[in-house]
Amino acid sequence: MNQGYRITIHQEPDLHQSSLVLGWGEDVGHLGRRVTAYLNLKLKGQEFAEIEPEDFFPMGGVAIEGNVARFPESKFYACPEHELVIFQTDSPLAEWYKFLNSVLDVAERHCRVREVYVLGAMISFSAHTTPRQLLAVVNSAEMKEILSQYDLNRDMDYQTQPGERPTLNSFLLWLARERHIPGLSVWVPIPFYLAAMEDAQAQRKVLSFLNEKLGLKIDFSDLDQEIRKQNEQLARARSRFPQIDDYINRLESNLMLSEEENGDLIKKIEDFLREGD
């Protein structure tokens, strides 16, 4: 039952005991979109279903991104060889309960999903040279136990602060638990000055975990090459601009920058990476 919301199934996927990986389009560092796109590319994901947008997004025109008109998309891809479902979506702006239930309806009824992985990124005030760590939030003690053999911080305490709201990741985990589907929301911190760009290291960290947990056997040499390139670019930015180097040195020494300095570092790094070196 999809409660009247339109789900289009293009083709029934051949999945029997699958895992769902979900990435949001508007993540910090575009993490969700990048990781799900990478998985689709490497595992040859085939689109098989989508959630129609009209009830979840304002249909008041289109957004333009990188000179191109964008339209909200919520698409499912199947990788039958790996018993994997990838769901790549823009974040809904209305009817969240129904949207997330639609995701789980497809997962349960068409893919026989047995566990859910939701990707998330958050802004960190550490330097890019600090190793990325994964934080895990799960929806059951059993899932926490299952994850004990992986390199994850599994002991986070958190409560929504006044003026804030929970994330869609939490909402989905909660709904998955209502359906007795074990779920994990995996969070990776991204240095604030890379938040509007991309952070290949953060992507690699999340992908390595999924690769190990789901037995995907992905060759990451291309992504490692990208990480090397990004690190070299950032090193060049530091050597060319003493001010950038000073800021990052202080972050590496666990010192906080002022708000103004944060803004300055973001601008300098973004300008440098966009213009090329």
Binding site: D155, D157, L173
Partner: protein, 303 residues
Amino acid sequence: MGIRLYQEPQLETPILVASWPGIGNIGIMAVDTLRGILGAEEFGQIEPWEFFYPKRVFIRKGILEYLEFPGSKFYFKKRGRKDIIFFIGEEQPTEGGRMYAEGRKAYHMANLVLDVAEKFKCRRVYTSGAAVALTHHTAKPRVWVVPNSESLVPEIEGYGNTVLMSDIEGRGGHGNITGLNGLLLGVAKKRGFEAICLMGEIPVYLQGLPFSYPKASKSVLEVLSHSLKVEINLDTLDELDQKVQQRIEEFYQQIPLEIREQLDRLKHVAYAQPAEPGPITEEEEKKVVQDVEKFFKKRGEGG
């Protein structure tokens, strides 16, 4: 999406008193204060999931323990006769980024509230909210009263410190009540309930401030308790009002003198009809509102 009742109390011709948050939280503070003073007992709720986005998550040792949604709860108080059902909505179910509820969800919620009222054979409903008025914060707020039937007007005319829309100069008995505090009145009419909305006055220059206006809640509560024939002690609201008035006065002193002088004239605004040449003309009224808006816009831009 529905109603969940934890118990089904035996109630004697109950009256429903409902409120949601709005400007200055005037209505909800009045209703919730009365609920607290009478010690009403929670007996049900409207399931929140399809109406609201969650408001809080609790994660402990990496495990999502609990997701909390805005509450929409029912309470009852037995009094021997004319028992009271309270409904208190912590948020209005808004759609598309609007401030107040409207549309399908709002209509559905109003109907669910009345479903419970009907189940317990309630035929009278009170809602409560704010009336943005050309008045001054040092004046005692009046209560604008809107019934959903002509037959209720004589009763309302017997309430103290109240005005009907026809008493408000220049309105010709017309107006709007936005959000669920108003919508419930209309849905009640459609379903054959008597309903009355009590709106406490808030000065036009305070409507956008991020704090409550207990002085108006007290005025609403005085009318409501008179109508429900309950005697209550309003000391707690007085204490709160004193604190808020202090903050308002601090804010008021920051307003440029030329605007403040105009606002001071609102101390003398009255709504009595027939309309006499009042202490403030229509043109001046417009100017006051424009100047105040300009002042707030500037403040906002300045951070």
